[in-house]
Symmetry: C2
Subunit: 582 residues, 2 copies
């Protein structure tokens, strides 16, 4: 089909748009509203034409089953009306949960002069990965185009622009020159790049400016990295907002694209035009360029922000970390110290008879470098009392996993006792390689409220530690910790490599099996490519380890998702399973 | 609109239908296929016209993210073809995961004479409660009607008949006399009744027989209770299959309803007619009546089956239970002994200095009654060694929660050590009232692989124990255990009632807040109705307890879902939440 296009020459107007990249708290409708109203006041002074907030601003995102509570949804609607009363000349776009005839929608209210002028209901609802939006919401069926200062603007929410049959192309055909897209799009190590490429492509293909607003902050296992931005109609980023921080980006620009209208275009959706009041815009043209972070830097920032917000949003101010002298607990301590300040982080060394003196010394140097306290509680006596109590039952059998786990669980018990006694939040220190293979003790080193590096593979743990040292221009993480071979120190001379393949190989299996969902055969082919050969038995053994340890992961604390597929809400596998990967 | 109906007088034929209410294992494609083929062979001998298996028979239900693995889906399709080759004259209907152009469907294959004659793709996909089907599957768009022995039969899968715009009415209008519905519908205490009422209603309204097949067995937190049945066209159950067990129900009957066809009925779906070969039916009319279980009996059976299958499907044969002398561990021990035989259940008494001698005696009598072993491991010495190690740090502060939890976690450690050493599966003993309010110690008494009574409120724990004693005509659960006031025995003279309201009140709050999702105001009204008055502070305190303890539940083992809303996959709430129930 060949569309006939009509180019409508508009009066080219200057617009000032503001993107409030804010950090809300799920469920905290009152505080979120206060923050929203503050930002509205700020922008009103600056003669902003349109101010946008992230997806589901009032409830926070994702509110999950809270929206099944009627009084929760009512409270968010009541609060929207209250916020509306604070809106003057600036057009404000706010995300909230809409209710029409007892059906819920993920919606954006368009407010001007104390009035809700229009409500857009999200059309494309993600129901994959960490998203369950079809569990909660119905899809909208109407596509809005605002007109303000003679500029036509399309409104959309998050997934709406990711789908092939996006409302954007319809809005563009209907004359929209700018597309506003409000988001709660969580961080993954390569997602910011994907987003940028997508938005550039959409801008170019549809000859539209895209004004993209994302939320920022941690929410359980998710971190929202912000990265709000503006592209022009030839797909160039002309303004961007600093990531991993609250930010109000205000841009003033002249749209340079014409409003293009197709003739006789038929659509499956209703098109709704909303004309808003115009106000004189006294602002000078201004844009903004945010710093660019390397991938490893952005991962580290995501871990710090996710950890910080988990602590803060659960009303804790201090955390505990068991410092073993190994690299995992070193990274967790560094993240925690960065997140809430080293004075609020307490390290605990819990040596057993199998711990080397070096381990304690390394722990000590680490804590000194980070500026945090380290206390020492030897577990030898407690360990002996367990051995005595179980001696008769264990009946001189060969010590094995049971005996190793006892030590780890003594440590878990002590850490939890300190946490309970002094109101610390306990951070667990397991990495993704351990969580995947079950190389960690349930109720032992896996104990804690938050497991910061749960989605960080062992090889990436090293990379991040190198990055920390490089960016601090000093060995914050002591060299000794960086170079010694990994060990759980639960029996004499134990090394991770006794039980696990080299981490380079293990992490490839984990990436291919968990994140890429490859079959063993396909994994073998990748091994061949990368290492020149493959050991099918080794691959199968580790896949089986991953499968068998689902029960442990199900009882593990949440941690920051940084990969394309973490071990959380985005991976839902049965515990009882007879699947043999044939 | 008034439909013009044409009544088509069919040759009234006799049919033999068989419902294979089987217990599959999720992921175990090979074993599931073997079982399917066995049942096919059995029915072929009995001249069955149509044999139906449950929804997603080959993969087991729910396969969850396993279907995201391409080699898993391919393996299930390959196996379907292999099974098809074993099919002779009997028409066999099998659930499997279908793949068309890389889109997955929840489907039913219709097989006769080694050939797959048709594949029906489920239309209505549940995406609420424990169900995530829109995460995995696309909806079908075609509605099939089989013709065999001159009888017209509509095929549907589970949710298809629960929805208002169900394919059943379309099939009936197209002449179907029988509706076959294959299911994987999990148990809830009142669901069997709901199902029966629904099926009766559908039969009557559409003048059709409904042949309903459900799977049986436990899968993680779900239990499928079977309850396969046949209704006639006036909504009477004329045959039923024993619940909570594998069962092959074979029925032979003459359809007494006419095939009714509407004229010029327009539908949104394609209608597909499939004519199958007819074979002479030598069978005599036979129907079957299954025993009827009371609600409390069915709950108990669900707990036993769910526990049994969790143990078995995770390849364990023996379990451990910490026997405190209280009623919760008594019930768990009784369930376990019933599930896998008392010789495979080991009880462990772990007395501390706060445990009364009575507790041990009660535990002993219980284990004798059940016929299981009880061992005793006092924790006093270990407890003292913890106290000594922490003495300086705790600095003579008032003993509180931290000190109580240490004891519970010592017990958790010992139980896990025994489980690890001797390959037991550890059963946790917390009930729903405790899980809801967080009245249990994470990594302590909450430790274990499976938490059988996690969805059973304390008041229901008593009811089930009474039921057990009644049906055994003896005090299997000793009277002492039934009548003493509940206590955690973690400090001197401690009683549950020191920290919690009477269980009758607490359980009402839990039911209204968790299961019914009522607001505090609405709960207060219900209290007024039931108790004549309400204490708003008490209600709010307990709601806050429920909200605050989300982090504990997230790390708790799975347990059998028996209520309309358990504390598992069907309840997805944020841990970090600022919601204040205003």
């Amino acid at each position: 089909m060949c569309d006939l296009l009509l180019v409508t020459h508009n009066f080219m107007a200057k617009l000032t748009l503001a993107s409030a990249q804010i950090n809300t708290t799920v469920g905290d409708i009152d505080s979120n509203a206060k923050k929203i109203i503050n930002f509205i006041k700020k922008t009103e002074k600056k003669k902003v034409d349109i101010l946008t907030f992230p997806e589901l601003t009032i409830t926070g995102y994702p509110p999950e089953d809270l929206v099944h509570y009627d009084h929760f949804v009512n409270s968010n609607i009541k609060k929207l009306k209250e916020i509306a009363r604070s809106v003057k000349n600036t057009t404000v776009i706010i995300g909230f949960v809409n209710k029409i005839k007892n059906r819920l929608y993920n919606s954006a209210a368009i407010i001007q002069n104390k009035k809700i002028k229009y409500i857009y209901n999200k059309i494309h609802l993600p129901n994959y990965g960490v998203f369950d939006e079809k569990r909660y919401f119905y899809s909208g069926d109407e596509i809005p185009i605002l007109e303000i200062n003679n500029v036509k603007i399309g409104i959309s929410i998050c997934e709406d622009i990711w789908e092939k049959d996006s409302p954007v192309s319809i809005q563009a055909k209907q004359g929209a020159q700018i597309i506003i897209n409000i988001n709660s799009s969580p961080f993954e190590h390569d997602k910011h790049k994907k987003r940028i490429n997508l938005i550039k492509k959409i801008s170019k293909e549809n000859n539209v400016y895209v004004f993209y607003t994302n939320q920022v902050g941690g929410q359980d296992e998710l971190v929202f990295d912000g990265g709000s931005l503006l592209t022009n109609n030839i797909g160039e980023i002309i303004s961007s907002s600093k990531r991993f921080d609250e930010n109000l980006m205000i841009v003033t620009f002249n749209t340079e694209n014409d409003s293009i209208k197709s003739k006789n275009q038929k659509e499956n959706f209703l098109i709704k035009k909303i004309k808003l009041n115009n106000y004189e815009n006294p602002n000078k043209e201004t844009l903004n360029v945010a710093p660019n972070y390397s991938q490893i830097d952005s991962i580290y920032r995501a871990l710090v922000l996710g950890t910080k917000d988990y602590i803060r949003k659960n009303n804790f101010s201090r955390v505990l970390v068991a410092i073993s002298g190994g690299i995992d607990s070193a990274l967790v301590a560094a993240i925690a110290a960065n997140a809430i300040g080293p004075k609020n982080v307490m390290g605990v060394s819990l040596p057993s008879k199998y711990s080397s003196e070096n381990s304690y010394n390394d722990a000590k140097v680490l804590c000194e470098n980070l500026g945090m306290e380290l206390i020492k509680i030897p577990i030898n006596n407690i360990h002996s009392s367990f051995e005595e109590s179980l001696e008769k039952l264990f009946n001189k059998s060969e010590p094995g996993l049971a005996e190793e786990n006892i030590q780890s669980r003594i440590r878990g018990n002590i850490m939890m006792a300190l946490a309970n006694k002094f109101n610390f939040l306990l951070l667990a220190t397991g990495n993704k390689s351990e969580m995947a293979t079950g190389y960690g003790t349930l109720y032992g080193d896996m104990a804690g409220a938050f497991s910061c590096i749960k989605d960080v593979s062992k090889t990436m743990v090293y990379e991040i530690c190198h990055h920390i040292n490089r960016s601090n221009l000093s060995e914050v993480i002591p060299k000794n910790i960086m170079i010694k071979p990994p060990t759980a120190e639960l029996k004499p001379n134990q090394l991770d490599s006794d039980s696990l393949p080299p981490y380079e190989q293990l992490d490839l299996i984990i990436k291919l099996y968990i994140e890429k969902k490859f079959s063993p055969d396909k994994i073998a082919k990748e091994f061949k490519k990368k290492f020149g050969s493959f050991n099918k038995k080794l691959i199968m053994e580790n896949i089986n380890l991953i499968d068998r340890n689902e029960y442990k992961r199900r009882q593990s604390p949440p941690g920051v998702k940084i990969s394309n597929l973490a071990l959380g809400k985005d991976r839902r596998l049965p515990i009882s399973s007879g699947w043999k990967n044939l």
